[in-house]
Symmetry: C2
């Protein structure tokens, strides 16, 4: 990702009465140093983030991303993000998006060790070309996430439902998948349940029902997944959140990984076992996701 | 931690023939921005680090820390660190240490998304005053690490033995411990074994033997723990790496958390159950750790 534009944000505490945002943003050249070495984002992955997709300057799912940013911040004991300020910053960032598909990344870091204030910024870049992933599809390997399905409830300090900057394991899982000749990974729990992909939500069609594992199993609430469920329901398709056992992957006749910028990537194979797929539905779903106006 | 001095390093590939380091360091004011927003350390906690203690400009355990830096980098598929360069950079950093106890932090980040080169730096600061922790001791609470003892072997992509920048869970565990009125946490595995503390290694005295859980259980190789075992052996004390069941904590008559800057912090209580302790041994051990000349 080559970042073309950035905004530094002076984060305000949550205070909806505050409406003068004029002085709280600074345009920043992404090629110029911006962060101190003592930044806790860089020293400890100590912060949260969101990545939004945009088409021709229209960002997708702003409210769902901001809700998740606030939920992640709460799980990490970060100051409550001022959503009005973020909304305005996203609008400014969106105005600088290149034509076509773009990525808008929001970062909220704990800041410096002195605890005075968080650090926050937004970066904008051209999205990679995901045509091949959306049409030809992707091959997955299942990888053990090490934790069981109940760990998120039992041990909230693991922050399994937060989108934190501590993303090294997610990146290592992608490298492991590529080492095994696949395109992406599908995390499964140590007690045999399907969880999520390192950077995407799983959507599976089993016996004609569109299924995603529930957030209670320690996975992220997917923003693109929310849009996909809404669209599928509008088409009259049955959707359901439920636990999916790894053994059920053999019964899946179509499957997708859903994420904000790649959107719906159809799964061609899981652990080398082919998945039939549904090219017409994939194309219609991606068209609908790209056409979102909010 | 307030950083007083910093060095930026232009990382060289591993090449022991390269001896001209003159142009590869840059002194840097820690109060001036140094990192781009696209830094993968800041965006994804994607890198490794080490924290060394130093007394009056003499850094402790340089070789053990560099070995662990290299091991962590290998587990993360980072370029092999050029240890000669790091050694020289540590010597330069040590020369700028304040008198008394200091902290020297090494960071090796994956760099930018373009994959051209890692980013590396060293920061130097005055160490906090840990007198109270070393003499009065600390209270621990056990916290479930979510994973079982075999996860590190079964799922190397979890990088449980690497000291990565993705430290958000470690920080959350410390906050949870403080919320429960304790000073620090002791991670235990989901199958009931003692692991390590979020930023320290556990040393337990059970039936007169000084015990640390083995690195194979997915914990970090402790550098201060290596020094402690060597010192204990020199005093004629029996030391042993072995698995410790959580149930054995009730039989512990002395216990310490070992780390590079706080050194040996005696444990006063685990989950509110008092630990007798050994003040004389604690004092002698900390004196020996401070007196290390390499």
């Amino acid at each position: 990702m080559s970042w073309r534009h950035a905004l530094l944000i002076v984060p305000a505490a949550s205070d909806d009465a505050r409406t003068d945002f004029g002085s709280t943003f600074a345009e920043h050249d992404p090629g110029a140093p911006a962060l101190l070495l003592g930044e806790l984002s860089a020293q400890r992955g100590d912060g949260v983030f969101e990545t939004l997709g945009a088409l021709d300057g229209t960002p997708h799912q702003v409210e769902a991303h901001l809700e998740r940013l606030a939920r992640s911040a709460a799980l990490m004991d970060l100051p409550v993000p001022h959503l009005g300020q973020w909304r305005q910053a996203i609008a400014r960032a969106a105005a600088s998006c290149p034509p076509g598909e773009a990525t808008i990344k929001l970062v909220l870091s704990r800041g410096l060790d002195d605890g005075r204030a968080p650090t926050a910024w937004i970066s904008v870049g051209q999205a990679p070309d995901f045509t091949a992933a959306r049409t030809d599809g992707i091959r997955l390997v299942t990888l053990d996430r090490g934790v069981d399905r109940d760990a998120a409830t039992r041990a909230p300090w693991l922050m399994l439902g937060a989108k934190t900057l501590s993303y090294a394991v997610n990146m290592a899982a992608l490298r492991e998948a590529r080492r095994r000749g696949a395109d992406d990974a599908l995390f499964v729990s140590s007690d045999g349940f399907v969880l999520e992909a390192p950077t995407a939500t799983a959507l599976l069609r089993i016996d004609g029902v569109y299924v995603t594992p529930p957030a209670s199993s320690g996975i992220l609430h997917g923003t693109t997944q929310l849009s996909a469920f809404a669209w599928l329901e509008a088409q009259g398709m049955p959707v359901r959140y439920r636990d999916v056992r790894v053994g059920e992957l053999g019964r899946v006749d179509a499957m997708w990984l859903l994420s904000s910028v790649r959107l719906a990537a159809p799964v061609r194979a899981v652990d080398a076992r082919p998945v039939v797929g549904d090219a017409a539905l994939t194309a219609a779903l991606n068209a609908a996701l790209l056409a979102r106006t909010s």
